[in-house]
């Protein structure tokens, strides 16, 4: 029995490639476009950060100008309480005790609150 042989002249070419059209631009252009967008974003961010720094400087100086004023008010109140405390002690105990072995002004941990506030 004769063996099966290829046809005379060989087989025809086999189509193994898909024949799809390449859409859009070349990839390098997408990369460049992305780079342009990112650069623009960084540029805006740069100026935004610079301005934020200046705004922070403005805010901190507005507070620095107020600190002595607020501190003076608070200190006066502390001193008023301090002398009132001493007077109260003098009245109740008749002595003038020093609690701390130091001349520094020490903010009291507990403060006296009047038991009956009537106005």
């Amino acid at each position: 029995m004769p063996q099966d042989m290829p046809p005379v002249g060989g087989y025809g070419p086999v189509q193994y490639k898909r024949n799809l059209p390449a859409r859009g631009f070349r990839p390098i252009y997408y990369l460049l476009g992305m780079g342009a967008i990112v650069t623009y974003g960084w540029y805006k961010l740069f100026h935004g950060v610079r301005e934020k720094n200046e705004l922070a400087r403005e805010k901190i100086w507005s507070r620095i100008h107020l600190i002595p004023l607020l501190q003076a008010e608070e200190d006066r109140d502390q001193v008023r309480r301090y002398y009132a405390d001493k007077a109260r002690e003098k009245e109740l105990l008749g002595t003038d005790t020093k609690v701390y072995n130091s001349d520094r002004f020490i903010r009291p941990t507990f403060t006296y609150t009047p038991a009956q506030v009537t106005k």
Binding site: E51, L55, W61, Q71, V79, F105
Partner: protein, 143 residues
């Protein structure tokens, strides 16, 4: 207050008016403020008791600024601090009223807002018409 300490009227202003007036207080009262802070720093922990005199000067000076602004620029002042009050105390949302207040205070009282340490050659941030960080006026001119 005990009798041996002279009385002084407290400033009695809330945060927004104080913030609005802060640069003018800083301009007029710089010497008193520095004096007081120096006294406190050098008083060896007794500043509360020993710097009361300097403290009274600070308060009187600041009160004089507030009083002068109230007499001469009350409308602009009210507009600006109300704007601050409504904008979470963000100065950059209130540039338009601030500009009016600054001009009025400079004309009438001669006090000028300058931000120490700002880079030379740049427009100071409070004079830029476009506030990049402003949400309400996002990127638009405020005046």
């Amino acid at each position: 207050m005990p009798d041996h300490i002279p009385k002084v009227d407290e400033i009695g202003a809330t945060s927004a008016p104080l913030m609005s007036a802060s640069y003018f207080i800083g301009d007029r009262c710089r010497a008193f403020n520095d004096d007081y802070m120096k006294c406190k720093a050098e008083a060896n922990g007794r500043g509360e008791l020993e710097c009361l005199k300097e403290g009274r000067k600070v308060t009187r000076c600041a009160a004089s600024v507030i009083k002068d602004i109230n007499t001469h620029c009350l409308d602009q002042f009210n507009a600006h601090w109300n704007c601050l009050e409504n904008n979470n105390h963000r100065l950059f949302e209130c540039r338009a009223p601030e500009m009016k207040l600054n001009n009025c205070v400079f004309d009438k009282l001669g006090l000028k807002k300058t931000i120490p340490g700002a880079p030379e050659g740049d427009t100071p941030v409070h004079l830029r018409p476009k506030q990049l960080n402003s949400i309400e006026h996002s990127g638009k001119n405020q005046w």
